[in-house]
Symmetry: C2
Subunit: 325 residues, 2 copies
């Protein structure tokens, strides 16, 4: 798995930067005192795809930035992502993440909350090391978006009447916002002009939102082994994602999603809902929405000249849409 | 209660600044979207003593600072304090704080974790508005200290062999660090020289540590109604504070604190421990340590000329030591 990931083409132009990001993450663990050190080693040992720091690094590569600021920012972005994963797992009572036991399941929610806070702080320290107030402010705003996106998700549980707009607003906050910041800050730290900064923000925002839509597709389409949790677990826990909302839109009468939300024969209706989502035209519409978001992301880059880094960024966009799990 | 607090003398020279801090806190709630708005209104409605922002404001007053930066910083410091209270209550499963039901008990730990994160983010945004990178960095380092202090406390539960140094290191992190930052940043934002900045940092660090020692005294000395929890609840939950550690030092054989930590006849030994702490010479020693910390705090201010603001800062130091609950 890891081997396959490192072979992804979009890593090639940013190999140095990614190595520096990886070193920074390891240093966060090795530079901490016991007992935090051991806890962080557990967190950092789970190697993710590093999609968010890759975006920051590729944007800065497109813009020919030759400072180490984008690598510092890449580490900040990944640390923030790891912090939110820890709090999300705690909130969701999740036992496993990326094939490893979660902090929360191993050491209890108390420890997980505090280690998450500690990682928030280390991410803030990294972003401060960019010495760029605009980037630091954007980062703080993103932490706000991330938590308010999660909170809204929590409070809108089982509200099957919610609109597509509400869904998009929520997933922009909980996922798109960090992609937007990853891309935008790469441009700011490269000294880009306002129009270019805005273009990269649009790119990141749409790509991150597409990333979440694909996640929401996988929750219905993946096999239980692939996604490491039961199929349809979002709906089962009351979270209404695009596939479920489109199913309600298309079949407003006698809808199994509505029944699940209202607690009517939950088990039978869960099965029916998953089945209908998979086998109706709904899934094609959801894919089309994800594709449209990706297209909007890529369009934002149209004014930029062709380059190896730009092609890598397009490849990363394909990867986000085509990934399984 | 509230009336008594606002009558405290040290508020007088900083009334304007405190009003601005209060407005900022209310704006955090009123400026948020539902459902977060309602949650934050609950948090902000609990009016604390605002000791930490008072320190930032008084330091800047001593140094004749006439910008609004200290008030912005005061809000940041209080927001961070409120965020940590929410996470602490969640970690401790506390039902009541300052006479009101905790977020965690009302809306569940999931919501409390996320609202805490949201408040961390708003505090970060406020500190960014000081536009001072040094202050922002110090603030991030403080969030790290706060969470690592709490984590260490968690992992050192029931370790009655721990040293006084370990205790002080831990309480500096969990309490002293934010007082130190409150004082230091007041000086930095007032454009003070390095020696003065360092003096205020020493002041804040020692005062905050004394504040925590007094807290730890109250846990043994206060009545259950006064402190809103059972007497000796720190020890009961495995947290070894200075009174308990000094009792172990003084009576190394057949010590009830050791028995509680080792789970031997817990209830009877808890009662015995509380009784011994209250009625032996141990408490006098703990008061002496708190007094020494306060003296060190005040000594740091000796080189500064007398002024109304300086006298107010000394009064605040007395208040910290003499407060009940």
């Amino acid at each position: 798995m890891e081997r396959m990931e490192t072979a992804l083409g979009f890593y090639a132009p940013i190999a140095d930067g990614l190595r520096r990001v990886e070193e920074s993450l390891e240093e966060v663990a090795s530079g901490s005192e016991d007992p935090i050190k051991g806890l962080l080693e557990h967190v950092v040992a789970v190697r993710g795809k590093r999609v968010r720091p890759s975006i920051t690094l590729l944007v800065s590569k497109v813009l020919d930035c030759d400072t180490d600021k984008p690598a510092i920012m890449g580490a900040a972005v990944e640390l923030l992502h790891l912090a939110t994963l820890i709090h999300d797992d705690t909130v969701d009572n999740a036992d496993v993440r990326r094939g490893r036991a979660t902090l929360s399941s191993l050491w209890g929610p108390e420890v997980a909350v505090l280690v998450g806070d500690y990682l928030f702080a280390t991410s803030a320290i990294h972003v401060c090391n960019t010495e760029n107030i605009r980037v630091i402010k954007g980062f703080s705003r993103t932490i706000m978006d991330l938590s308010s996106g999660q909170l809204t998700e929590h409070f809108m549980a089982n509200q099957w009447q919610q609109t597509r707009e509400q869904y998009y607003d929520r997933i922009f906050k909980k996922t798109g916002s960090l992609f937007a910041t990853a891309a935008e800050s790469g441009a700011i730290l490269s000294g880009a002009d306002e129009r270019t900064i805005e273009a990269f923000r649009t790119f990141g925002s749409n790509l991150g939102t597409a990333f979440q839509v694909v996640d929401d597709i996988l929750d219905f389409e993946g096999s239980a082994e692939e996604i490491g949790k039961p199929v349809g677990s979002d709906l089962a826990s009351g979270v209404l994602t695009l596939p479920a909302l489109l199913l309600v839109e298309r079949y407003p009468r006698d809808n199994p999603v509505v029944a699940v939300c209202e607690g009517v024969e939950r088990e039978a209706n869960m099965e029916l809902a998953v089945d209908m989502v998979r086998n109706s035209g709904v899934m094609a519409d959801v894919y089309a929405e994800a594709g449209a978001l990706r297209a909007r992301a890529i369009d934002a880059l149209a004014p930029l000249p062709d380059s190896e880094a730009k092609r890598a960024l397009l490849e990363l966009s394909d990867f986000v849409l085509e990934r399984h799990v």
